[in-house]
Symmetry: C2
Subunit: 189 residues, 2 copies
DNA sequence: GTAGATTTGTTGGTTATACAACACATTTAG
DNA sequence: CTAAATGTGTTGTATAACCAACAAATCTAC
């Protein structure tokens, strides 16, 4: 699963850059952060930044992906069944993630963030489905994963828009029967 | 004073190694720490260790020197007069330093540690004397610095051996008149 | 608008670190 | 005691990171 050995220099430098970016994100908005700021904070050469990232938007994507993965990874994501509990946990992770983002100001990049979340969800759902139903057509699983990722993400958006009087757990709970029924109709094994 | 620009890679790597060594020192005795342990903890290549340090004893020296300098530097060390207050502060710094060492087990290396402390003290005293009496013969100042470093260090040893019923300040205070008088006899300006 | 300053990507040459392999020394086990 | 295992210090080669310099784009001020 993990690429067995990456040069430790690469790991160190990436971590330095990402940590510095997150540090700066807690002080300024994304639009006010320059590559120079980041490399100065990290005390690395600016050329080294471009060795690892296309540009600052690429960095944003990778940082967000990683933070989201950390939010999810601790709970399941690998070797877990796509059941009610998993769906609730994933939904909670997303709402938590978005809450942590609202502190760091990324105004104007909601679309990017939304796309990243959906892409990550899609990967996770697809892996879980693969494990759960190894026999099924892969294309069907991909489409299912896409729809689940959009659906779960959309639900999190609506929950944020709502009065938030009900907890994320309760919110998603009411929808789960429909999701599971849909999943179960496929070919429960 | 400071070498204006050192390669940031060097600074990072040295810090990694030194921090890892201090971390390990809080868990094991010095004699049980190998170069491999350190480089594994720091996640650097073992060859890189030897690029920066002769061997593990060289590392010990440099770490101790740096820790001691940090203990001292905050207070004076530069641009300060070698007066009663300075002597008391230096003495306190040494006793503090040795107290912090007794937690990390360096049994069997007391001689090395003692030498390092005396060497650092000698440098500091010499600098202070140079600033205080720019006209005086350099050789005389060097000898004075040597004697002061041995004297102050010896006093700290005796204080540790004592019942420690009196504070470091009090202990050194009683000796200061003799030290200062000796200094003053030279050529007070 | 324009000029100056800052930021962005990119490049070529240099240096530090990674890595694997080695001979040798020291420790550990039987 | 011997043999295996572990640690030490060194070397050659590959690569990541540094640095300075550059043209082009973008931002600022006037």
């Amino acid at each position: 699963m993990e690429q067995s050995k990456t040069d430790p220099r690469v790991l160190r430098t990436r971590k330095l850059i990402m940590d510095s970016f997150m540090e700066l994100s807690s002080k300024k908005e994304f639009k006010d952060i320059t590559v120079k700021d980041i490399t100065a904070e990290a005390v690395i050469n600016r050329a080294t930044f471009y060795y690892h990232f296309e540009d600052i938007y690429d960095l944003l994507e990778k940082v967000l992906s990683e933070v989201l993965l950390v939010n999810l990874d601790g709970d399941y994501y690998q070797n877990y069944e796509l059941n009610e509990e998993a769906l609730i946990n994933i939904f909670k992770a997303i709402t938590n993630f978005q809450k942590s983002l609202s502190n760091r100001c990324h105004r104007g990049y909601e679309d990017t963030i939304a796309r990243i979340i959906r892409e990550q969800l899609e990967v996770i759902f697809h892996k879980m489905l693969l494990k759960q139903r190894p026999t099924e057509d892969v294309q069907a699983q991909k489409v299912t994963a896409v729809m689940l990722s959009w659906g779960i993400y959309g639900a999190s958006v609506e929950w944020r828009r709502s009065s938030k009087e009900i907890s994320p757990e309760e919110y998603i709970h009411s929808a789960i029967p429909y999701i599971m029924k849909g999943i179960d109709l496929g070919d429960a094994d």
